[in-house]
Symmetry: C2
Subunit: 444 residues, 2 copies
């Protein structure tokens, strides 16, 4: 793809309304454009990244046996009155009257709607467990939307729901998502730590937030720093293995501020291991038993002939927020260098030829190299503009494509200037460059 | 995938509220579930089909150089006031007040929002043409939603927008979409005919609807039946070739009822070629020049230093509606046999073993066959239930997976009972079955 043909509107300066680096960078390289307060359009560069994140989230949901559905954005208030949350939810719920004057709303979450689907379809314990997820736009009418897509009003989220016959099975489902989330964030090259958390308007008494460390995070966290060393790589989708995994994490005190207890923290964590810092919530899982199935009559026939309400959990990942979270984690704002993990990078490699009006030979070389890369399914962005070389490099460093090829007059196929974004360059053969990128892609 | 593990809630009877066969079938095999009037959830079977349609639509947009963006569902009324459509649009627009009492709306279409993106980003004729598309949920508050997802309120749509320097270039863009649509519908195994159409609330004076014939269609069409024989296969993405393509179609009188003129029809079409019938609109393209760019100041610098408003068109495909349209075209309601085109089928093949409580050997054979199919990337749904054989066949015929394997006690690998849904069966080797399916998939 030529940069001159692509819709990547670059801004020269950092917009003053952007206070954190993800918001700054996303506006600057044209990943998003604000359309109204807390509501954004995704431009090609931003959408490419978000779609790749979405696909990784989807694959990891499928791996634990969750099935994808898609619930609508607009819901009737009726089911929220059944669960009792219609009044509780407050002003963050966008309430709507349709032309027939019916009370509708833009779903901020989907416990009610999925329970309605479940109760209409599943009648017997034999059909359990059921794990259903969807990836859909949500709306929360924040009073003060801020930080770009990190705390906006319309956002893209994966939410999953589990239905089980009893607490034991329900906790097995909960733990499946627990592992799935660790794997998902790992593929995004993020170190996300599960922390005991408050359940808020979702309800229940068991909940974990998955937090990545970031100075600009809105969650205050109190943790034993040894939790960052927990190894989850050997865990399997079996009850015992998943329980062990949970225990390995829960051995270390680690909470968000709603759950913080100073005395407990100081008793359980010796001073040198204490870490008080900030983080960004990228996932949140809840177990709430029959909180929704009971008022909404989500019951199944049991083996003996009796009925019981199913035990439910819900499991969210902020797909659009993750785009910002990855920037917060990976963008060096001082050097002005972003480097996307290869798994979600908008392109795998950029080619930066030195071009001037009278000599396009570098561009021709770029085209040849691009042909080879395409054959190997390596996605390329070529800067075919006549801007001066240093501003081209600066622009590409912001766009954050993880690899760069620089082409001058002397460049030949057996000695190409190749670098990781922001690193020193080296001279490599094209075949070696292809090998490096393919290997990285396979590992992710 | 085992049918017992999948979330496919089959209904025994045809729901009385469903009046047309797509609505009946989609409810019956659990593709969708109504959540409120004109609003549906997509269950796994329906979502699989819709996602495959979406991907084909996306690929064909990319092929003509359109770039994918994603605009939000909730828009500010401000831009609609700029274009002058806020009052015009009427009650089909879902109007919303947020907690700050700002006038918002759920986008029924996106001409205003995309013009706002364009004017903020593109300043020079050198960046033209720009073709931008997105695939997003829309809402139109129909007074009488009906026919399931064919005329619902919340629907999934691809809409694209073109921006050009003058009429000639704009018509080139229009014609690119014209060809792209023919190719898209062909990959869905639909014969969609472009017909001169009214422009309605979008505006402009050039417009085509793409219509597929169906008794249950809501569009009345008047056409020269020879239009069905027009061959578009040799057309290229070049001005002249695309103009020729348009001419080949426009030689034959073919209009929807808003454009119908009896005298003209009878003059231009001899009696034996006249066809008056009904159809389903699956796509609609518009050219409207500066209708939006002028009031919203979407202008670019021209070569000589002057400025001019860009010339725009818009291009819609009803992605969710296409799921229903394909059923209307492919479902034989008398025989109760559906057969999805392989390009969008939820699974490529079903395996139906005869199982009873005491003998699971057929299921074991099914599992072995499934392993081989999986190795060849062939997606399989296995009916592992103990229902009687004829009700299994009936169910699979409704689900509409295009190929079936039937396994009895005598089945061996070198002689498997294989059939296209609804056809006679034949005995084939597994390797031959794999070859047939792979060939069909490659061709689509």
């Amino acid at each position: 793809m030529y940069i001159s043909k692509s819709f990547i509107p670059i801004l020269k300066n950092i917009p003053s309304e952007a206070k954190i680096k993800s918001h700054q960078l996303m506006l600057r390289v044209g990943m998003i454009k604000q359309s109204s307060a807390g509501i954004y359009s995704w431009l090609p560069l931003g959408l490419k990244v978000m779609k790749k994140i979405e696909q990784i989230v989807r694959e990891e949901q499928n791996k634990i046996g969750a099935q994808e559905i898609l619930m609508p954005t607009i819901q009737s208030s009726d089911i929220w009155k059944e669960s009792g949350r219609y009044e509780d939810y407050g002003e963050e719920m966008l309430r709507i009257k349709d032309r027939q004057n019916r009370e509708m709303l833009y779903g901020p979450t989907n416990e009610e709607l999925v329970t309605d689907i479940f109760r209409a379809s599943v009648k017997s314990y034999k059909s359990l467990p059921q794990l259903l997820y969807h990836i859909q736009w949500k709306f929360r009418d924040e009073i003060r939307p801020r930080f770009g897509i990190m705390r906006c009003r319309e956002f893209y989220m994966k939410d999953a729901y589990s239905f089980d016959i009893n607490d034991e099975e329900a906790l097995f489902s909960y733990n499946k998502f627990f592992l799935s989330y660790l794997k998902t964030f790992k593929r995004l090259d993020l170190k996300a730590i599960p922390m005991a958390a408050d359940t808020g308007p979702i309800g229940g008494n068991l909940s974990h937030e998955f937090i990545i460390l970031a100075e600009t995070g809105e969650s205050k966290i109190f943790t034993d720093k040894r939790i960052f060393e927990v190894d989850s790589s050997g865990s399997k989708l079996e009850k015992k293995s998943l329980e062990d995994l949970r225990s390995k994490f829960e051995k270390f005190y680690s909470v968000t501020d709603e759950k913080f207890d100073k005395a407990e923290f100081e008793t359980k964590v010796i001073e040198k291991n204490r870490l008080i810092t900030k983080g960004i919530e990228v996932g949140h899982i809840f177990y709430f038993g029959d909180k929704y199935s009971k008022p909404m009559d989500g019951s199944v026939d049991l083996p003996g002939g009796k009925k019981d309400f199913v035990k439910m959990g819900s499991y969210g990942i902020g797909v659009s927020r993750l785009v910002g979270a990855i920037i917060e984690a990976k963008y060096d704002a001082k050097k002005e260098v972003m480097k996307w993990p290869i798994s979600v990078a908008p392109y795998d490699i950029s080619i930066i030829p030195m071009i001037n009006k009278n000599d396009k030979s570098s561009l021709e070389k770029a085209n040849k190299i691009n042909l080879e890369l395409e054959k190997n399914n390596i996605e390329t962005l070529i800067d075919d503009t006549e801007e001066n070389f240093s501003s081209k490099i600066k622009k590409m460093n912001l766009i954050g494509i993880p690899h760069q090829i620089i082409i001058g007059k002397q460049t030949e196929n057996d000695s190409i200037e190749f670098k990781e974004a922001g690193e020193m360059s080296q001279k490599l053969k094209l075949s070696e460059i292809i090998k490096i990128i393919k290997k990285q892609k396979e590992e992710n």
